[in-house]
Subunit: 203 residues, 2 copies
DNA sequence: GTCTATACGTCGATAGAC
DNA sequence: GTCTATCGACGTATAGAC
């Protein structure tokens, strides 16, 4: 009988792939992309190193996928923070923007190694490409909030796209230093500084 | 007779090295780092491809050096813009900051390909490392101006280091989009938006 | 899946500086 | 005579085309 892929084999394959991604993300959380060598990922996920290449064409693609897998979580958290304020129905755009900034910064500061890896660690160009993509994803979130703020008269008239991109860069770059060497006691000050800075910028 | 390096041979060697750097920068100006292949650099500088590796241990180091060579010019231009206002002696910190922002943005928009390459093009991790270094160099320039502004009472009290890093990220990220696809007629608007945004952020 | 193009880096030979 | 700089073809790896 000829070999056919069945639901079962496909599910198993997808499962292994997910195991690899999760294992890789764990490694990145602990030691950045530098720690996510192919052999380390294999070891961490309990498969043979050769198995990796039955799920990913090469290491760049594996890492790029890990990057997406990890970043999508962050983007979602920020998006939710800027939206859920809708439930109360009476929240201002400034509140939403503040929530988004706080979420981004606090999550980064709580998972510094991962955040540094996603934001600034020098990585393969293929992965850097994903970074550019996701910066745009963040910008789209901010753009909506800024547009709302202008419409409500909270923020000054401005080009939302420019400001949105600017805020993404502002947040990312201002966290690079603190993520490298932590001064935990200054986290709150930092987050406060950033929210204040962002609000001044748009207001 | 034993062989010794002389001034003459050393100068000649340095000269060839500089030829390689200039040729490479020219290529980057025209087509980004993607266009600066080893063979292209060799051709452009009129040497054989093997010669490159007598001046640089590998391609990453060559490109990293080209990055520094090109970026130092930009940093110097921004530093000068933020300082030369001193001559008039009556310039405000806001003027200096505006000059720095305008210089950065205008130079980028006038040499888009090079600017994109230096700011955002996905590159070898070794080169990305240099990018991080030079972002800090820009931040140091801004930090001085911000400190001055606070001292003069022009800007609100704030953590200069945080704001400085933030402004670097703000500028870089907000230019990425425009540098990719040019709308030349909107250059002035963009520069205006950025100066206004930056001034609001610090004031 | 094969074939082509192009990339990086090496090597032995040659020319020239000391 | 001794050492170095240069050349450019070559080995090997990789990406894209078909």
């Amino acid at each position: 009988m000829a070999y056919r892929e069945t639901e079962h084999t496909l599910a198993k394959k997808a499962d292994t792939r997910l195991r690899l991604l999760k294992a890789a993300r764990r490694l990145v959380q602990q030691g950045g992309f530098a720690a996510a060598s192919a052999s380390a990922v294999a070891k961490e996920s309990g498969v043979a190193s050769g198995t990796i290449y039955r799920h990913f064409p090469n290491k760049s693609e594996l890492v790029a996928e890990v990057f997406r897998y990890a970043t999508e979580r962050e983007v979602a958290a920020v998006a939710q923070a800027s939206n859920k304020q809708d439930l109360g129905c009476g929240k201002t755009a400034a509140d939403k923007l503040t929530a988004a900034v706080e979420t981004f910064a606090q999550r980064a500061l709580l998972g510094r190694t991962l955040a540094y890896a996603l934001i600034a660690e020098p990585v393969d160009p293929r992965v850097e490409q994903e970074r550019l993509r996701y910066r745009f994803a963040y910008a789209e979130i901010f753009e909506d909030v800024i547009a709302l703020g202008i419409q409500r008269g909270e923020f000054v008239a401005q080009n939302c796209q420019i400001t949105a991109a600017a805020l993404v860069g502002l947040l990312a770059e201002s966290l690079v230093g603190p993520l490298k060497k932590d001064h935990e006691h200054e986290h709150d000050d930092l987050v406060q500084s950033l929210t204040a800075l962002v609000l001044r910028a748009v207001t």
